[in-house]
């Protein structure tokens, strides 16, 4: 079955096996990360827009400026995350005597962001649903702005949809991790066991952090 890029989602083993026949190319992974970053930027813009809505009319003139910062920040964070994840996995794979260029690791890690892009769309939909159900007052006092922002954060955290969205996010992380296992296996010439450990350790730590946060064990 050859369905192009989407093959990485359901048959990453064959996909990366085929990709190993070619020279490392970062255009497609960068495009995937860009899509993921844009979706993250849209979600961030949505949140900033809500916070700006709290401000009085005269202060809302800065809304565009605030949204722009959020969008640019989300785009930068998207690419930064890509590089950091690739670097972490590359370093861990060294413990298992992995062989291969960082460019290949970066390429295959980029493909693993495809489920994150899909998850980002669904997460943004959940965020919109949560935020659209809130009634946020207009405030003028800086103390009240802090008060409302804190209340807003509490409200969003307490919303059952937030918890569902977090669990859905974990599912997409697992999907990305699955792709990364195959990616690291080929990119760093690891055994399946070593690839699972290379990806599984940081992902398990990340998921544990999310679950602990979700259960309120970390304030």
């Amino acid at each position: 079955m050859n369905t192009g890029l989407l093959r990485v989602l359901i048959d990453p083993g064959r996909f990366f096996e085929d990709r190993m026949q070619d020279e490392p190319g970062l255009k497609m992974p960068a495009l995937i990360v860009l899509i993921y970053a844009i979706i993250s930027a849209v979600a961030a813009a949505l949140m900033v827009n809500v916070i700006i809505d709290i401000l009085p009319a005269e202060a809302q003139a800065f809304a565009v400026f605030g949204i722009a910062i959020a969008v640019v920040g989300a785009l930068i964070m998207g690419f930064l995350t890509w590089i950091v994840v690739a670097a972490v996995l590359h370093i861990i794979s060294m413990l298992f005597k992995g062989e291969g260029a960082f460019t290949r690791t970066l390429e295959f890690t980029g493909y693993a962001f495809l489920p994150q892009a899909i998850g980002g769309i669904i997460g943004a939909a959940f965020s919109y649903r949560i935020i659209s159900g809130l009634t946020i007052p207009v405030v003028t006092d800086p103390e009240q702005i802090i008060m409302v922002t804190e209340a807003l954060a509490e409200m969003i955290a307490a919303d059952p949809l937030t918890q569902i969205a977090s669990l859905v996010g974990i599912l997409f992380v697992l999907w990305s991790a699955n792709i990364l296992i195959f990616g690291m296996k080929h990119a760093r010439n690891l055994s399946t066991r070593d690839a699972v450990l290379t990806v599984g350790i940081p992902v398990a730590l990340y998921i544990a952090y999310i679950l602990i946060t979700l259960l309120g064990l970390i304030p």
């Binding site: 669904i122 009634t135 509490e154 409200m155 059952p160 669990l167 859905v168 599912l171 399946t192």
Partner: protein, 378 residues
């Protein structure tokens, strides 16, 4: 003596023997007593007059008839047209139904006996007529009536008449109220005596309550009314609740109001409840705060949680309580929200998000399927 003279003498003796006892007996018949029931009549009353006569002579006396005459008091019953003899040393009673048709005072209708020999006995019987009725007064009532609140009303009935009034009872009449008991029986009231009746009155509207006092004078029923105007007012002793020391705290999804409720009245407030009123929407955990009983001069803390619209600047805090009779009272205190702000969730966000869970399950199935497929193809 010649036989003719002897016959004449004999006839005279026979005639003398026949006439002499009758002539002597009419003076021996006397009226020994007369009684009236009731002893004192009111105007228009019907009573019974009983006259007893006695023959004190040694011979029986023949009576033709017995009658009662008079104005002011008239006999309703017929005369005794043919009485007959009254034996020596015996008594005979005559009863007449009479009615007081005149005014007040003492009347003397004559009782007349006609004897067979043409003589008659005439005896004026004193009959007293006095129109003074019983008196009724309200000797106890609540300081103020309140709609639906029970209050005790005490009626005192006095008898200024010279004779006993029987079957005295008091019946509240009118609309817009309920009374317990529905009537009170006092019974017989002797001259110058008094009796009381207590009613629990629960008014539903402002109205006049008429207490009708019924009694009997003999067989005659009489009534007097005493009216109690029921107008609603503030009970000076009732519980009076105040909300003080109010502190509004914004929190996720709404507000929390913490304060004290105090009873500044003279009676206990029971089943005290505190809740946020419209347009606020009560939310968990303190949709309503139950204080319970609050005695006079006591205070109790409370807290309520609620959600309010974005533009709400004030909300009412509703205090509900009951009195000892279970009547419900409601008071409202307005609390200012303008100094506080919060974020609240919409109405549709309450409960379990079924659609979100369904989407999550579908996504989970899809991802697990994709992962499973990827390992199967390995």
């Amino acid at each position: 003596m010649k036989p003719f003279n002897l016959i004449i003498i004999a006839l005279i003796c026979i005639a003398a023997g026949l006439v002499a006892p009758a002539t002597a007996g009419t003076a021996d018949v006397v009226v020994t007593s007369s009684t009236i029931d009731p002893p004192v009549l009111m105007k228009g009353d019907v009573g019974t007059l009983t006259v007893e006569i006695m023959n004190n002579g040694a011979e029986p006396v023949a009576i033709r008839n017995a009658r009662l005459y008079g104005s002011g008091v008239v006999a309703l019953s017929d005369a005794y047209p043919s009485v007959g003899d009254i034996g020596a040393g015996t008594t005979k009673t005559f009863t007449f139904t009479i009615r007081a048709d005149g005014g007040e005072g003492t009347f003397y209708p004559p009782f007349v006996l006609d004897f067979q020999n043409g003589g008659a006995l005439r005896y004026p019987v004193p009959v007293q007529v006095e129109d003074t009725p019983l008196t009724a007064s309200i000797v106890g009532k609540p300081d103020a009536f309140t709609e639906g609140r029970r209050g005790d009303v005490t009626i005192r009935v006095g008898n200024p008449r010279p004779n006993t009034a029987s079957g005295v009872q008091v019946i509240p009449q009118g609309t817009g109220f309920s009374a317990t008991p529905s009537s009170a029986f006092i019974g017989a009231l002797t001259a110058d005596a008094a009796g009381t009746a207590v009613f629990n009155l629960t008014p539903e509207d402002e109205t006049d309550v008429t207490f009708r006092v019924l009694w009997r004078n003999g067989i005659n029923t009489h009534a007097i009314d005493v009216t109690l105007p029921v107008t609603f007012g503030e009970d000076k002793r009732q519980a009076d609740l105040f909300v003080t020391n109010v502190e509004v705290t914004p929190e996720a999804g709404g507000y929390r109001i913490v304060g004290d409720v105090m009873n500044a009245g003279l009676e206990s407030a029971r089943s005290v409840l505190i809740r946020p009123g419209a347009p606020a929407t009560p939310t968990d955990p303190f949709r309503v705060y139950v204080v319970g009983t609050l005695d006079p001069d006591d205070a109790a803390p409370f807290e309520v949680t609620f959600r309010a619209e974005r533009d709400a600047t004030t909300i009412p805090v509703v205090v509900e309580y009951r009195d000892d009779d279970g009547n419900r009272y409601t008071g409202t205190t307005t609390v200012d929200l303008s100094g506080t702000v919060t974020v609240s969730a919409g109405e549709s966000d309450e409960g379990i998000p079924i659609a979100g869970i369904a989407i999550a399950v579908l996504i989970a199935i899809g991802i697990i399927g994709a992962i499973y497929y990827s390992w199967r193809r390995k």
